[in-house]
């Protein structure tokens, strides 16, 4: 049987993977601080003995779109958005330092500053930021956390800690399986004083819904063409069987 059937099959299968990548972007179109994944197809020649006449298709994720989303004003004291480039350092689920742009922060029962999903935000000392009971918490543009302790006068402002903000070089961060950004071998990055945050804002997802939807549709048509190829391969093979049949 003609190998075109298998070549078309890989095309259709990779189209489905590619669609999952776009569907994931679309599903996260309203996730705070989400960075959309790129997806591309690549020609993969079939290696082996003989003439390399076949080229399979292969979907891959060449990287993550690090463009900033829109800043949305929320007015909440503990919401921070990173202005421009840069990332917030948090302690990931595996204990390593990971990076996120989702700054909807909270205080947990242990008085730690944590992300919406409960991961501790890393402070200047490399550990979690602990905030004593406060009447009012202010996060400055450089990530410094100042509080007005409960029961104190307005003059008794106390500096608590500073959120660790980093600015990696291009290509230094990649998205891990947990959806957070990691460095190679999880080596922590040094804090960068030039990164600025804005309190009272959140960064929206950077997914461009229109382009994702357009890709979905174009992948759908490609998929149909692959199926058409498979159908043609089947017709060819039955025609050949008819010619060769002993009747």
């Amino acid at each position: 049987m003609d190998k075109v059937l298998y070549v078309a099959m890989t095309g259709a299968r990779e189209n489905m993977y590619a669609q999952q990548a776009h569907a994931n972007n679309l599903a996260n179109a309203t996730t705070t601080g989400f960075k959309s994944d790129f997806e591309q197809a690549r020609a993969m020649r079939v290696l082996g003995e003989g003439y390399e006449s076949r080229v399979y298709s292969m979907s891959e994720r060449p990287g993550t779109d690090l463009d900033s989303g829109t800043l949305m004003q929320t007015g909440r004291d503990l919401d921070v958005a990173v202005a421009g480039d840069g990332w917030l350092a948090v302690q990931g689920p595996d204990g390593n330092e990971v990076y996120t742009r989702n700054g909807s922060l909270q205080i947990n029962a242990a008085n730690q500053l944590v992300t919406g999903s409960g991961l501790p935000v890393i402070g200047a000392g490399g550990g979690p930021i602990v905030i004593p009971p406060a009447e009012n918490i202010t996060i400055g543009n450089d990530g410094t956390v100042t509080i007005r302790p409960i029961g104190e006068n307005a003059v008794e402002i106390a500096l608590v800690d500073q959120i660790k903000l980093v600015q990696p070089e291009q290509g230094q961060l990649f998205k891990g399986r947990d959806g957070f950004m990691h460095t190679d071998n999880d080596v922590p990055l040094a804090a960068n004083p030039n990164v600025q945050v804005r309190a009272g804002y959140l960064e929206s997802s950077n997914v461009n819904a229109i382009s994702e939807l357009t890709s979905m549709i174009s992948l759908q048509r490609q998929f149909e063409m692959q199926v058409k190829m498979m159908k043609t391969a089947e017709e060819n093979s039955s025609a050949a069987a008819e010619v060769l049949s002993m009747s």
Binding site: Q20, L26, T31, M44, E60, N108, S117, R177, F223
Partner: protein, 261 residues
């Protein structure tokens, strides 16, 4: 069958939950002392289909692998505790809290619940109760023939009775504050209960240790902003529509393949 189907399903259900939160906020746009909720989203785990750096031949390797996300989930709702608008009602039994702090309410089972709703009433035994009839804690019982009822900024409750020009002090309303009010559990009826995340209540007099002051004759409105909610509703609707478009696309593909082959 088709990964995009499951991924889009997570998107639909997350937007569905979001709409529910928005509609609950909107439904409570005029509930006294209501605090709006906000839903938090998170992307789900990624599956590594092809490992970056894996060998593809004797001297070739994958420069970048294929890692596919598996959708979105809703992780938490946050109560946003910023103060609502103060409305003047001039009703003597209405009290508003200007600042942090909650009024304490004794539940029928003896537990203490906390509320920002200061619409107080009198019950048949002249006791100060909430609209649901739960006793305000510490309990305050009024004498008969009250001609004037007043609550001071620090929560002192005093009355004058017919035939006596001197006001008498009945007690003091106390306020409870929490380290992390967002950790309180909302139980409905404008009440919250303490959880491990909120920390224990720090009870004391109004105006002390950062607790707000009590204002008589005012109520705190809901902190829901109708415009914000409507805008959120529009984005939610569009995100929902796009995820359902993904489902129909994936479905058309599967139906095409089963018809053609």
């Amino acid at each position: 069958m088709h990964g995009a189907l499951h991924v889009a399903k997570t998107g639909l259900s997350a937007q569905d939950t979001q709409l529910k939160v928005i509609s609950n906020n909107l439904a409570n746009v005029s509930t006294v002392g209501f605090k709006k909720d906000r839903l938090e989203f998170e992307d789900l785990l990624y599956q590594v289909r092809r490992q970056p750096g894996a060998a593809t031949g004797e001297d070739s390797m994958l420069p970048s692998g294929l890692q596919l996300g598996s959708g979105v989930r809703t992780v938490s709702t946050q109560k946003l505790f910023h103060t609502g608008d103060m409305q003047i009602t001039d009703q003597p039994f209405d009290v508003a809290i200007n600042g942090r702090g909650f009024l304490q309410v004794a539940m029928p089972n003896g537990d203490i619940a906390y509320t920002r709703n200061g619409e107080l009433h009198l019950d048949g035994e002249n006791r100060l109760v909430t609209s649901e009839g739960y006793l305000v804690e510490p309990a305050i019982t009024l004498p008969d023939q009250v001609t004037n009822f007043s609550v001071g900024n620090d929560g002192t409750v005093s009355v004058t009775v017919a035939g006596d020009p001197n006001p008498q002090e009945l007690g003091q309303l106390e306020l409870a504050d929490f380290v992390n009010p967002q950790g309180l559990q909302a139980t409905g009826q404008n009440l919250y209960i303490e959880t491990a995340a909120s920390g224990a209540p720090i009870v004391g007099l109004a105006g002390e240790e950062g607790r707000g002051i009590i204002k008589q004759g005012m109520l705190e409105g809901s902190n829901v902003n109708a415009v914000e909610e409507l805008v959120d509703m529009i984005t939610t609707q569009r995100a929902y529509e796009m995820n359902s478009k993904v489902i129909s696309t994936a479905d058309e593909m599967l139906s095409y393949v089963s018809q053609q082959l």
